[in-house]
Structures are given as structure tokens and as C-alpha cells.
Symmetry: C2
Subunit: 392 residues, 2 copies
């Protein structure tokens, strides 16, 4: 296994932001469970026995108003920062900016992150979610495609119930990358008086674009083509492992950039397969590495959940009234090489928000890592985020 494959695998499990110098005061994370007996979705369905995992870092003050909520991205989880034990080799994905003395300072703030509905990582024992792989109480069997469509707004509404249960009265900020950035804005649109600031990292602005709608559909196309998918009813069988692997391969490439591909791989034939110049079953190194990574990630991820999360992202679209109602100020943090939510989307959103009287700042992440620079390069925005949090 190449170093790149290993690192990508770890990253893909959302355990890793970067191998950083361990701080003197290491944040230790713990997964907890929040339950909702009955939840009404935006689409008009009812979900019974909702269970969602969450983590908290820092301490809630007596006024319940020193809180930052961190929403996770498409393939991420509520493990935003810290380690599960001192010996845990990796940290939560945004550990670079969340922790004692860090820009989202757990000495000042009570930070909460929670798993969404239909979180992808069903095979990760640290992820707790409710989705197509959950047991439908009415039948005693997994929902499959009988699970209702859930939007990211549904996850935000469930997370609001969690904060209410914890005694949170006000959010100093919501923050998130990509799908998490969408949720961070949904918070401000749904609860304008509850949210003071939004940190919108590698996000689309105030609505999803048709480009991204088509992209998330492409990601799940191989799943639906796999005969083992069986229209979502595969839970007592092998399941669509090949389709899921190819879906994850597609996701990984489109979340990157040619600069990253060039610098990480170069033009190389695979060393373990025949030469692509003479054998049609031969292959190049980049393709072989993507295939291996896809196979490994597939063991942790549920195919139906990937379909549902793709749909959840595609449904994001604020009405004009909702957008006008936002009272939070927004820090947009696009990545210059992002090909999913390219920086012009953030720039346009910031300009239209300011034109309508809102307060918005922009900080651009530099690099050729593509969309994923919002995870791996977030340290670049440390000062911008600290200063955004410090201003009233």
C-alpha cells in the first residue's frame, strides 16, 4: 500500500486533519448519543427513534451562550477535533482550528458537533446515525429506500433539538466545510436570532448549483449500476461493494484538482499490474491507487447512505426571504482550486449578501489540493477565523 493510499484512507475515514505537533493540552473526544422519539422531516415524513452521535469540546457557560456548532461534510462525521485517547494516532478533521488556544478556542467556547441523518460511515463504530441502514420499527428490517428523503436542513433541525436539550441559548458561531458549510448557513436561516456568526468553508453560498447536483448524482451512479445494490435491499447480503468502491473513486477525484494529481502521481504505470501500453487490462499508477483507496473506503461506508447524502446536498436552496432574514455575519473560506464549489460561488454569495445589507468577509485558501483543501489546508485560515470570532 502506497503512502498516499494510507493517508487518503485515514483521511477518508474522517479521523485525520493533519499529523500535527501534539499540543500540551490534548483534547480528548468522546462520542455521545442524542435521541428524538419522533421527527417530522421537511418532506412531510415521520421518523421514529432517531439516534444521532455527537461530541462536545470545552465547557458550556451558565448563560448557555458561549457555543460553536460544527456541522460535518458529506463523508465526514461529528469527530471534528481531538483524539479518542492519548494514544489515538489521528485527530478529528479540523483539529488544526478547534482546541485549547486554537482559533475556535475550547478554553472559551463550548464546541458541539453531531452526526447528520444518513451519515455515510455506518461501518465506523464511532458514528451514530439514522438512515436507510437503520431498522425501520414498523417492519423490524432495515429501511433501504423506504427511508424518507432527508435534507441537510432536517439534520440542522435535529441538531437544534440537541442544543436545546443541552441548555444552549445562543450560538457564537456555526461552522462547517462543504456540506457542513451548507448546514452552517441553514442554521442562520432557520434560527436568525440564535446564530451570531457563520464560518462557511468551501461551500456553495446560499444555494446548490446544478453543477454540484449533477456531480453528486455522478458519484452514486456506480452504486445504482451494481447488481448487488438491489434497489437498496442488500442488508442481508454482500451489498454493492464494487459500485461503492467506484463511487468513492469518483468522489475522490472530483474533490481534487489537476495540480494535486500532477504533484502526487505524475505519469507512472502501475507497478503491480501489466503495462497499459501493451495490455488493455494494464493500468496507470493513479488509477490503480484510486481503485485501491475506493475498495478500502467501501468497507466503512453504506451505499444507500451515500445516495441519501447526495440528495440531501442537492436539495439545498434558501428562499430569498430566508436569505434576507439571516442576521449572522458570514466568513466565506473558499479554496482557490476547488472544482466542486469553486471560489467564485463564495465571492458572488458574499457580494450579494453585503449588497442586501449583510456583513461578510472572505478568506481564500491557497493551494492545488482542490475541494479537500477545505479540510487539509484549513490551518491557513487560522488567523482569519480567530479574528472573525473575536470581533463582536
Amino acid at each position: 500500500m502506497s503512502t498516499w493510499v494510507k493517508i487518503t484512507l485515514l483521511a477518508s475515514l474522517s479521523f485525520l486533519s493533519s499529523f500535527q505537533t501534539v499540543h500540551a493540552r490534548q483534547l480528548i473526544a468522546e462520542k455521545k448519543v442524542f435521541e428524538i422519539a419522533s421527527f417530522d422531516t421537511e418532506g412531510g415524513a415521520k421518523i421514529i427513534n432517531v439516534r444521532l452521535g455527537y461530541e462536545t469540546y470545552g465547557k458550556l457557560n451558565s448563560r448557555g451562550d458561549n457555543v460553536v456548532f460544527v456541522s460535518h461534510f458529506y463523508s465526514g462525521s461529528s469527530h471534528a477535533a481531538g483524539k479518542y485517547s492519548e494514544s489515538d494516532p489521528v485527530t478529528g478533521y479540523w483539529d488544526a482550528i478547534i482546541g485549547p488556544g486554537k482559533p475556535i478556542d475550547t478554553d472559551k467556547y463550548f464546541v458541539v458537533s453531531a452526526d447528520t441523518f444518513a451519515n455515510l460511515n455506518v461501518g465506523d463504530p464511532k458514528v451514530i446515525t439514522t438512515g436507510p441502514a437503520s431498522i425501520d420499527p414498523s417492519s423490524g428490517k432495515p429501511y433501504g429506500l423506504r427511508f424518507p428523503v432527508v435534507s441537510l436542513r432536517d439534520s440542522v433541525r435535529a441538531h437544534k433539538a440537541l442544543l436545546d436539550s443541552l441548555g444552549v441559548k445562543r450560538l457564537e458561531a456555526t461552522a462547517g466545510a462543504s456540506g457542513g458549510a451548507i448546514q452552517a448557513i441553514e442554521w442562520a436561516a432557520l434560527y436568525p436570532d440564535f446564530v451570531k456568526r457563520v464560518i462557511h468553508v468551501i461551500g456553495p453560498g446560499f444555494e446548490i448549483h446544478p453543477w454540484a447536483i449533477a456531480m453528486v448524482d455522478l458519484w452514486v451512479t456506480p452504486i445504482k449500476m451494481d447488481p448487488q445494490w438491489k434497489n437498496g435491499d442488500y442488508y442481508n447480503e454482500a451489498g454493492p461493494r464494487v459500485g461503492l468502491s467506484k463511487a468513492l473513486k469518483l468522489l475522490t477525484l472530483t474533490a481534487r484538482h489537476w495540480g494535486w494529481a500532477n504533484s502526487t502521481f505524475g505519469y507512472m504505470h502501475s507497478q503491480r499490474l501489466p503495462s497499459p501500453a501493451t495490455r488493455i487490462d494494464g493500468q496507470f499508477q493513479i488509477v490503480d491507487a484510486f481503485d485501491m483507496t475506493g475498495d478500502m473506503r467501501a468497507s466503512m461506508i453504506d451505499a444507500n447512505h451515500m445516495i441519501y447524502m447526495s440528495r440531501a446536498g442537492a436539495l439545498y436552496r434558501l428562499t430569498d426571504a430566508e436569505k434576507r432574514g439571516i442576521k449572522a455575519k458570514i466568513l466565506f473560506v473558499p479554496a482557490e482550486s476547488d472544482l466542486i464549489f469553486p471560489p467564485e460561488f463564495s465571492i458572488e454569495a458574499a457580494e450579494s449578501f453585503k449588497k442586501a445589507g449583510g456583513k461578510a468577509d472572505i478568506f481564500m485558501l491557497r493551494g492545488s489540493g482542490g475541494h479537500l483543501d477545505g479540510l487539509f489546508e484549513i490551518h491557513q485560515a487560522a488567523t482569519a477565523i480567530r479574528s472573525f470570532m473575536d470581533t463582536p
Copy 2:
């Protein structure tokens, strides 16, 4: 069928560049066949009874030196310009720049274009190619994956034999878009004294990049997942129609750009399917349109040929000595929104070529149509190409 779907379908069959005012002197194209009894590939295999289609526009002069060769792109064909009859509703894909009085002026030049090995459009009666769908003389059955790997250089070498047979002594220029741009440079690398100019439109420069290698592999992934593909032996059966349709959907999106997706579709639910907000089998307009277009294109295209053309493109890589040996001057015509061969590849290639003593110019196509602007927006480069052809 939406207007967009119709137009894309026509374009995808490579019949269409743009609905232009018909010139007083309409170029009438005719498909001819060139045969090679036995061809040795770069990979060391031998192909018997090669047949490739070609078209010519204009007249060869007595010295055989007023010639422009136009190589076609990945999903294109040798129908570069003109109509097959006065009543033909569409023209060849580059009719905007090839014809009487046009930048590649058929009053001055004898223009030749030929089908490559493993051309995708096996179902198009106007395309003549030799590839996996051809009959293997040794078995009397279609080759399938027993057809040898062919590179774009192999096609160029076969096309050189065609020009020799026609009495061509020198090329005023080679020209092509995308995979055709690769071949245009291969001509100049293989036959430095034979090629005076290269017009390299939406191409990668002097080698393919790992980004594009991974991209063309993604395109064919759905084909290989289709149980009807049967490892390439499907010629007496239904064949991988679903996989091919999804492959073409992937190809179409990645060859475009978010600006194009936004302006063409916007955020719309499909009108003929359930709402994506409430039904997991619902869909958005952009996805529905891509699915329909993929289905229609699939009827014309051979799945194995798509796999072989992907490989042919991925094998492009000049040695340093070959690059240094090029005597032609090169006009690079990147498209600013190209996400497959982005403009910086052309700019870097032009700079390195000039640094090594070569002559190179750059003309940038403007727009948000993505890679395909090299076809649909080529008229922007008309003056630049005319002036490039006119200088000695």
C-alpha cells in the same frame, strides 16, 4: 425532448459545429476508405486489414504541399467540415474554420481528416474504423478485448500512410481539438520535416497529465461495471447499454463547466419524474437531461471502442528528444473554462517550447462552456488561425 438534449445529441454525433449562415459555396463532404493490409502497432502487435474512413476538402496541388491534416477528438470523426448533401441539416464539427474563404481555406489548402483506430462511433454509417468491434480475420469473430492496445500515435502513423498514398509531400499544418490536438503534435514529433505548423486546440501540451488519465478511466468505469459488458464479448447480445449511457453522461459533464451548467439548467426539478425533495427516485432537471442524452448517444457508440480510445489518450507522452526534435511552430488554443486540459497546461507547454528554441503562440477561447468550447467556440480563434496559417 428538450432543445438542449436535441442539440447535445446532434453535437455528440460530431455532426454539428454551429448553425451558421450557409456560405454561398457550400463544402460537400464525401466519406472514402483507406486500407492497410498489415499494420504494426507501437505496442508490438500486428493488425490485419485495417480500414479507416477519411474526407478531403479542396484540391491537392501538383507539388503535394498545400495540405492541412485535421485529427479528430475522442468522440469525434473525420467529418470535420462541410455537409454530406445540400439538404444535410448539420455540418462537420469545425465547419466554422474549414471551408472556402475560411481560416483553413479550402480554396488554398487540400484538407484531409481521417477516422482513428477504435473510433467511438461504430454505429454511425459514415464512420469507418478498425477496433475491438471489427472482425478478427483469424477467428471470424469480433476482436473484443483481444484487439491490441492502440495509441493515438498508431492512428497518426496510419494516417501518414494515407497521405503518402494520396501523394502528399508536406503538411502546411496539422490541427485538432483535444485528442485531435494530441495527434497534431504527434505528427510534428514523428515527422519533423513533414509538418510546418501545429494548431493545438484544447490540448494537454506535450504529454497527458495524471488528472486526465484518471478522468478517462472514470468515464469507462460504468461500462466495465455493466454485467452486459461481459469483458468485451457482447457483440451477439444486447451489450452494455446502461453502462455506456452512464459513461457518456460522465464524459459530458466533465467536458463542461459549472458556468455552463448554471446557465443551461439552473436549479430545477425534472418535470417528468417525482419531486427529488420527497421521493428518493425523484430527480433534478440537469440529471434527467444527462441521463436522456446518455441513452441516446449510446445507440451510436461502441463500449469497447470507448475503452480503447481512453487508453489511447492516456498513453500520450513525448520523450524529451521527440519534443526537442519538433520543427513546426505551434499555435496553442486553450479554452479558459476547460477542466480536462486547463489553459495552464497550454501556457506551460508554450513557454517550455519557446525556452527550448521553438516558436509558439497562444490564443485563449473565452466562455464558460468548458472543454467543449474548443468545438463550439472555435470561431473565436478564426482570425488567429488565419494569421497563423498566413505567416511563413
